[in-house]
Amino acid sequence: MNAKAFSRVLKNTISVDLEYRFNYVMIALSSVITIAMEWAIFSHVFANRDQVGGLEASSAFAFILYGMILRTVQALWGPIFTSIEEIREGAFRRYILQPIFHPTYFLAQALGNKVTPFIGAVVICIVYKSPLFSSPETFLALGNLPYSVLSFALSTLLLWAVCLMIVYASFFLDESSFLIVSLNIAASMLSGSQLPLSWYPEIVRKVLMWTPLPLWGDWPLRAALGLLSYDEQIRYLGLWALWAAIVFFFVVLFYKRGLKRYESFGG
């Protein structure tokens, strides 16, 4: 990986984002509204009980807050749709003509795109952990912080890799935005970042455990809340390694085969 090029793409992406400041206001506003709505639903659920499906009432707000942070930092609409459009319209050629591996470019763009929301997320977590709020003691406690950070990073990387795989699928399908939309809906509804997986029927949970979906919600979220047993921590790492290998294989395959058949439309 060309570290200098990576850092330049990162800086340029941040510069582009800073040109459109209003986007941040909208992201902040929509996040606050979603948190408020989810809080209303959770308050109703916990009105007459202390615990539902393994989640205690005291942890509910931490769950909602961290779930929102996860979804905001992981969601990657901009670079994905730009790349799909570039493949469709022929503008992808600039990456082919330059001595740079496109996944490197994509990763730098993704990180650059998420730097500001990530900084915001860290500030929110620090404020939430301060004595001003009564956050659960286990939430991002020092003891589980390294594993929480690791699960957050690995989970995000895997989701972005799947997004990249879908981007490269447009070499064959011409248009693969529908797959991105499906992935985001599935990741939002079935990963356990919006509602705890323990609230779902047993059969659904069993099926989900064979998919990478829990890796994008249940894993980092329960890690941050300190709710994962040691066995679960290891099992999730193994599951991640398995899916990462599968996704990496298909990213490289789609990229290489895709470039071979790429027609780079237009003059």
């Binding site: 200098k4 330049r8 582009v16 040109e19 071979k260 237009g266």
Partner: protein, 270 residues
């Protein structure tokens, strides 16, 4: 690489029986046709480039002309490695272009008149610094080169402005600068003067002429504008319906009245 006096200059581009076929989905206009194509798509095959044989010596400026859809851009794309050939072989600067060897990519530059490699939402300077990093050029050297090229093009003031706010001519100059930043041995220009006014065209031509003289860079120029060709090129390739119908010096072309009329006819029909 410089040729010895009296000897032939080394070959920059060599194509043997080079061909490219496109498979396209076709249908008539309208929702009904779209629905029929949804269930029963009709595919057609188009020979965009047919069995092209040629050799281009290093340091020459070669013009490529032909009507719209004649296969010019397809040929240039195979030359740069953007497209894989369907048949035949192509060697450029000793490399097989579509293998995308980083050493090859560092030695070519390409400008496509209708596609940008600039980041349009930020000033051009940021894109140039990114390109410098990608091509492994030292930042200070890159800054000097950008300043030098901007001065030559007369667009120093525009380097700090968002690219999308610049005029077409200014953006085209930036594209050429981007392609030249790493001092390529081969520069491929696909309709670089498209949409430019007379003054901008002249600036660009004069720059390309001087650049070829001083750097001995091989330049392949595709254009619909015969003035671009006559002012810049020392040899010419005429492509028609995917076939190379003329390859030779511009002088030979100018002398051959019958061929000239045929080319005018071809270009006129586009």
């Amino acid at each position: 690489m410089t040729a010895q006096p009296g000897s032939h200059p080394p070959i920059a581009i060599e194509a043997t029986k080079l061909g490219r076929v496109f498979r396209q989905r076709e249908r008539t206009a309208g929702v009904g046709a779209a629905l029929r194509a949804f269930f029963k798509p009709v595919w057609t095959v188009k020979d965009a480039v047919k069995s092209v044989d040629l050799q281009i010596p290093q340091g020459s400026v070669v013009g490529l002309v032909g009507a719209n859809g004649a296969g010019k851009t397809t040929f240039l794309k195979m030359m740069s490695g953007l497209l894989h050939p369907s048949s035949g072989k192509i060697r450029v600067l000793g490399f097989t272009p579509h293998e995308r060897d980083p050493a090859f990519l560092r030695r070519i530059g390409m400008v496509m008149g209708q596609k940008s490699q600039m980041w349009v939402d930020i000033p051009a300077y940021d894109t140039f610094m990114l390109l410098a990093a990608i091509y492994g050029i030292d930042a200070d050297k890159a800054k000097m080169r950008v300043d030098e090229l901007a001065k030559l093009f007369g667009i120093t003031q525009q380097l700090g402005v968002q690219v999308r706010r610049l005029s077409l001519g200014e953006r085209m100059k930036l594209e050429v600068m981007a392609a030249l930043l790493h001092e390529p041995d081969l520069l491929i220009l696909d309709e670089p003067t498209i949409g430019l006014d007379v003054l901008a065209k002249e600036t660009l031509r004069s720059f390309i002429r001087d650049y070829n003289k001083t750097q001995k860079t091989t330049i392949i120029l595709s254009s619909h504008d015969m003035e671009d060709i006559s002012e810049l090129c020392d040899s010419l390739l005429v492509i028609h319906k995917g076939e190379l119908v003329f390859k030779g010096s511009l002088t030979d072309f100018t002398k051959d009245q019958a061929l000239k009329s045929r080319v005018q006819e071809i270009l006129g029909s586009s």
